[in-house]
Amino acid sequence: MGMSSGGGGHGRTTLSEINVTPMVDVMLVLLIIFMVTAPLIQQGVKVNLPETKAAPVEANDKKIVITVDVKKRVFIGETEVPLGELEEKLKTNAKAQADKEVYLHADRDLAYGIVVEVMASAQRAGITNVGMITDPVGAGRSQKEKDKR
C-alpha cells in the first residue's frame, strides 16, 4: 500500500510520517468499540457529537463517561483530568476495573489523534470495551436542543 514508502532504493532518507497502521490494528483487536446513542446520556460538558447511521446500543447511564471537548480537554464525568493522568486514574478506579467498559463522549470536530490517545490510555488501563457516544442521524438534537434550553 506504500503508506510509508521510506524512499525505496535511495538509501537513508528520514521517515517523515509515523506509520499508524500497526497501532490502529492493535487497538482494534484489543478494544471492543460500539456506538451509544446520546439521548440517554446527559452530560454536563458541552460537546458536538458526530452523527452516525450505525445501529446504536442502548446506553447504560451507570457507566463512566470520558468526555473530550473541542478544546481537547479530557474529563471523567464532569471533572477535568490531564490526559497524562488518565491512564492511572482509570487503572486505580474500582468501577472502571470492574466494568472494563467506558463511554467516550468526544466532540465531532476533534482531530483523530487525540481521540486515539484517549482510547489508548483507556486500553492500557485495562479497559476492553469503549462505547462511542453518537447522535443518531436525523435526531440532530444534542447541541441544538441544549442551546435552546
Binding site: I76, E78, V81, T92, N93, A94, A98
Partner: protein
Amino acid sequence: MIASTAILLLTLGQAPIIEISGANFRPLPIALPAPLTQDDGSKKLAAEFDDALKFDLAACGLFQLLDRKSYLADAKEGVTASSINFSNWSNVGADALVKAQLSIDGEMVRGDLRLFTVAAGKEELKASESSSKQDVRKLAHKLANALYKFYTRETGPFETKIAWARKTPAGKDVWLSDWDGRSGVGIGIGGINTLPTIGPDGSVAFTSFRSGKPDLFVSKNAAAPKVLVASGRMATGVAFSPDGRRVAYSLADGESAQIFVAAADGSSPRQLTNTPFFINTSPSWSPDGKRLAFVSNRGGTPQVYVMSSEGGEAKRLTFQGNYNQTPDWSPRGDLIAFTARDERNAFDLFTIAVDSGKVTRLTQDQGNNEEPSFSPNGRLILFTSTRNGGVPRLFVMTFDGNNQVELPAEKGSYSTPDWGP
C-alpha cells in the same frame, strides 16, 4: 393514620445493615479522602489520624477502601452534602463516602466524621469526638467504631486491646497494644515471657520463666506483674473466664500436663483433667463460662476436646488431621478456631462448629498460620503468619477467612497473640 406514619418513619430511619456472614457478602466500596484540617501545622496529627482510620476501615472486613489515586474530587472539597459533587464519587465506584475533619483547640483535637450514601447524595451519619493530641489514634478508632455500629448494629473492635509476645535478641517480651498493633506497652519485659491473655477488666496474665521455670504472672493497668500461680510444677497458658472470676491453666510435671481452674487470684485451684501420661493444655472458655475447650493427646495425637468447667468427662471435638492445637472459643459461642498441621506439614487455621462439628479452612498456602484469637465481637480473628519473609508476624482476618491483613510490625518474631476487650 398515626400508626402508618410511625411505621413510615421507622422504615425511613433504618440504615442498611451489613450482614457480614454468608456467601453473598461483598465488602462495601467506600471512599475515604484524607481528613480536612484548618491549617498545615496539623499535618502530622492529621496523617496519624488518617493512618489509624484507614487501617480500621480496611482491616475490619466490612469495606473495600477505594484507591485514593483514582479520586476525582478536589482534595479541599467540603464536608457537607451540598458542597459535595457526588457524581465524582460514583464515578470512582464508591457506594459510600466518609469525610473526616479535624479541628485543633490548644491541646485538644476534635474529629468530625460524616458518612454519605453516594447514590442518594445524603448524609447518613455524623459523629463527633474529642481527644488530646497524643490520643489522636484513639480518636480515629472511636469514630471508626461509630461507623461500624451504623452498619452492623454491633460494637466495633477498634478500641479493643491485643496482647502478644515478641522475641528479639534481648529476650521474649509480652506487650499490650491497640488492636492495630500500635501504641504498645511492655507488660512482661526481661527473660522469657509468653502466652499472654487479657481479662475482662484489662488485666494481662502471662507465662514467665523469670524464676527459671514457667510461672503465671498478672499485671493490672500495665503495672508491675505479680505472681498468679507459682507451684512447684510448670504452669502455662492461663485463660480468664468471661466473667473474670476464674482462671484456667495447665500444670505440668514430667510427661503429663493437667488443666486446673482457680479463682482469679490463683487461690483454691481445682484439677479438672486426670489423664496421667497425657498432656492437657491450652484451655479456652466458652462465652457462658460453662465449658472449656483444650488440647489433649489422650487419643494418641493432639486434638481439641471440650469439657465442663466444673470437671467431668471430656468430649473429643476434632477428628480430622493428626495435629490440632491452640483452640480459641468465639465470644459468639458457635465456633472454635484452632491450628492444624496438614499432610504437607504446614500449619493452617480452621474453625469448627461446636454443635455440628463442621470444619472450615481459613488459611492455605501462605506460610505457617497459627494461634488464632477471636475479637471480642467474634467477627475477626488475630493470628500469626510467616507468609511475609518467614518470620511470624501478626495478622487479622474475618472469622470466615477473608480480608487477611498484616499488622504493622517492628523487628522480631511475634507469637501467641490474644485479643481482649
